[in-house]
């Protein structure tokens, strides 16, 4: 697999050169956890190879589907011709039929760390994900070493089976529910009244305080390697090491830290931000953060990405040579959801008499267990590294209500599943606010295809950071701004895979009403592939 990752090497940079890749999707036996099972591989491996481009490149990617089912690849975070975005049925893209090769052609209009994954059934869970590095024409972030850190959640079952299991029983994977013992422990700690009332309130709502992750039983991987296999990145003391963290998991949020090292966050979702020094950050499926670390000692440093349900770590090591291992930190205690993770409006509607103390109002979900004095990244810290061109106030606000029915594993946007929903229509060029309200007790990483949104995170308008995926916390709300400057049909969905599959997705249509608004189509050069590109072998 290492060899396959290396074949992504690129040739000499030149303007508008054509970079070419061949990717073959195939279900093959893999052995990551000690058991051999059939998973979805790209060019024989998991994760799929890193694709390297330079801003301004024309890209040709031949994707061959050797599976018995339809497939697709979506280029997550890339500004792209909608027909090449890779969501079946959108913009006339039919998906890739079994045995067929689909050729994606697009122009690289940006730089940064991105990724790609399947947009068909649960193939993303089954292994179809990989990283994209788009180098800027001129790199402003200096680093001596540069590593991609693809984090993912690996499960023995097929993704489709996971989905069926969740539909059979929404708590199918809930293996850390509160027991009778937990209840009596709570009585011991807080007294009968408090413990009983809490149990009563949660029972009344028919919800579980432990519902942090819908799917458990995962082995968390770093660049396709289990904690035992210990992916290792080499450094020399004093070097600036760039780590491109990509959360390519289907369902898992991670709290990421490298004990002993400060991380300087320099990029978020592929877009440069003013450096922020942090000890840890939490990120959701589909988000990416690039950080710079400068290890001074020649000891091994553990890259520890702890899942928020505290069921395990994705582990990697930064070391001066292969084979070293740092200390793996202890798992932090699991947080419990609180009333603060509930949508107040919904709750008051359900039970106006519910008693709550100020302590109840603090989100349990947000409690990462960050040690006193340590700095965890917050969205409010992110400042765009450049100057935003469009600083207009939004012309209108579009409400995006995230809803669901945990009991039946139904997830919705504005009360509708994708199978029932009407698209959100935007006029080309208009500036809108997307106002998210989360009526559920789970966090939802909302991803809009094709365009970046700007977080309304309190920074000045010209400094609002660009994001392609935005966490909307449980019971909370968050808003982002969007300039609808990419015409087409764009998927807009929760990036928790099974939430999307259960319906938490809609379509955003950006329509050009005036032909004069149409920008010229991206130029595709016809340079022969062999002169500028590189064939990935498989």
């Amino acid at each position: 697999m290492v060899a396959l990752l290396v074949v992504g090497a690129i040739s000499t940079p030149s303007y508008a050169k054509t970079t070419q890749y061949n990717l073959t999707i195939e279900r093959l036996p893999v052995n990551i956890t000690g058991k051999t099972m059939e998973k979805v591989t790209v060019n024989g491996g998991i994760p799929a190879p890193t694709l390297r481009f330079t801003e301004g490149d024309d890209v040709v990617i031949h994707v061959t589907n050797k599976m018995k089912e339809d497939s697709s690849i979506h280029w997550h975070g890339l500004l792209i011709d909608p027909a090449m975005d890779g969501v079946p049925t959108f913009n006339g893209f039919p998906g890739i039929r079994p045995g067929e090769t689909f050729t994606y052609r697009f122009h690289i209009r940006q730089s940064g760390t991105y990724w790609y994954h399947a947009h068909s059934m649960a193939q993303e869970q089954d292994g179809l994900y990989g990283s994209i590095i788009a180098a800027p024409k001129k790199e402003t972030i200096k680093a001596d070493r540069d590593y991609v850190i693809v984090l993912s959640d690996f499960i023995e079952e097929d993704g489709d089976t996971v989905m069926s299991n969740l539909k059979m029983m929404s708590d199918y994977y809930a293996n850390a529910r509160l027991t009778i013992g937990d209840f009596f422990k709570d009585v011991g700690e807080r007294g009968w009244d408090k413990a009983w009332n809490d149990a009563k309130d949660w029972g009344d709502m028919r919800m579980a305080r432990t519902d942090l992750s819908d799917v458990t039983g995962y082995t968390f991987l770093t660049n396709g390697k289990s904690p035992e296999q210990n992916w290792t990145g080499i450094f020399k003391p004093g070097e600036r090491v760039r780590l491109r963290f990509i959360n390519a998991s289907a369902m898992s949020f991670f709290d990421v830290r490298i004990p002993g090292l400060k991380m300087s966050v320099v990029q978020s979702d592929g877009q440069n931000v003013e450096p922020v020094a942090v000890d840890e950050f939490r990120f959701a499926p589909a988000e990416t953060y690039d950080v710079i670390v400068t290890p001074q000692d020649s000891k091994p440093y553990t890259i520890a990405a702890e899942s928020i349900d505290r069921s395990g770590f994705a582990i990697g090591t930064l070391a001066t040579s292969e084979g070293q291992r740092g200390k793996i930190p202890a798992l932090r205690p699991r947080a419990l959801l609180t009333m603060g993770d509930m949508n107040m409006e919904m709750m008051m509607k359900d039970d106006p008499d519910m008693e709550m103390t100020p302590a109840d109002m603090i989100s349990g979900w947000a409690k990462a267990g960050t040690p006193e004095g340590d700095k965890a990244l917050s969205y409010a810290d992110l400042r765009y590294a450049g100057i935003q061109k469009d600083t207009r106030q939004p012309e209108r606000t579009i409400d995006v209500k995230l809803g669901g029915n945990m009991e039946r594993f139904i997830w919705t946007i504005n009360g509708k599943k994708f199978s029932e929903a009407e698209p959100i229509k935007l006029r080309y060029g208009e500036r809108v606010r997307l106002a998210f309200t989360n009526e559920t007790m789970m966090a939802h990483p909302m991803h809009l295809h094709g365009m970046f949104v700007q977080l309304e995170n309190g920074q000045p308008a010209e400094k609002l950071p660009n994001k392609h995926t935005v966490i909307v916390p449980p019971g909370g709300s968050y808003s982002v701004l969007l300039t609808a400057d990419e015409a087409g049909e764009w998927a807009f969905h929760c990036h928790l895979l099974y939430h999307m599959m259960a319906g938490m997705m809609t379509k955003v249509v950006v329509a050009k009403l005036d032909p004069g608004d149409v920008p010229p189509p991206a130029k595709t050069t016809t340079t022969p592939a062999t002169s500028g590109g590189h064939h990935a072998t498989h």
């Binding site: 029983m169 709502m205 599943k417 994708f418 029932e420």
Partner: protein, 246 residues
């Protein structure tokens, strides 16, 4: 024989209730597969519990199948339960219902039930199933027999976690009758009830052996009829069984 024919006819009627909704979902699947992949898919869940044990020295064995196939909104719901005592089939029921999701926690159901034993009888069924506050799994159904007799059944169960895998499930069931049904030895009022405790070990959610202990008794007129027939009006059953989900 006539009864079975009636039953089959009735079953067809029941299916006609369920099928259009399901068919609509299925047809949609072919036409707009991708859309259906995101909220319109058909899933299924069947849970089968079979056990064998003793009651007052008699061997008893029973089965209980409960499950559905369908979408989030529209389901075909199948139930079957029955009991063998001393090698003789004493009770056997088969239900087929259309189940419609009407709120977060509840489905409304309508369909047919046919009892093969103790005597062949067809019923129309209407009722609800869902999760009541405090996690009570609830089933409440009303039956109208082919003879016009009205009866009802209410069942509650709840899971208490000792550990993540060792689970106690207390349950209770009561059967009611609006009138005397002499041919079924049932008197008006509360006919019979059952309370029990299933202790299961979930190796997985799909495979869980269990021990079941329950006490059942007949009440009022129904109890008197049983006694005058020389039957017991109550029973204590201990059994071991297996719970499967598929």
């Amino acid at each position: 024989m006539q009864r079975i024919k009636t039953y089959l006819l009735a079953s067809c009627f029941s299916l006609t209730l369920a099928v259009p909704a399901l068919a609509e979902d299925m047809a949609g699947m072919n036409a707009k597969g991708f859309k259906m992949e995101h909220g319109g898919e058909t899933f299924h869940m069947f849970r089968l519990e079979t056990d064998t044990g003793v009651s007052r020295g008699d061997s008893v064995s029973s089965w209980d199948l409960d499950g559905w196939i369908g979408t989030d909104e529209n389901k075909l719901w199948i139930k079957s339960e029955g009991e063998h005592k001393d090698g003789k089939l004493e009770e056997a029921e088969l239900w087929a219902m259309y189940s419609r999701n009407i709120s977060t926690f509840w489905d409304a159901q309508a369909g047919l039930r046919y009892d093969f034993e103790p005597r062949g009888t067809g019923y129309f069924v209407a009722g609800f199933t869902g999760l009541a506050p405090y996690y009570f799994e609830t089933e409440a159904h009303l039956f109208v027999s082919e003879h016009g007799d009205v009866t009802g059944r209410l069942r509650e169960e709840n899971d208490i976690l000792i550990t993540q895998k060792l689970i106690l499930q207390p349950y209770a069931e009561v059967n009611l009758s609006a009138q005397d049904v002499p041919e079924q030895d049932i008197g008006a009022g509360i006919a019979d009830g059952k309370i029990g405790l299933q202790t299961r070990y979930e190796f997985t959610k799909k495979f869980a052996p269990y021990i079941d202990v329950h006490y059942g008794r007949k009440f009022g007129e129904t109890a008197s009829i049983a006694e005058s027939d020389g039957e017991d009006k109550d029973e204590l059953v201990g059994a071991i069984g297996l719970r499967l989900m598929f």
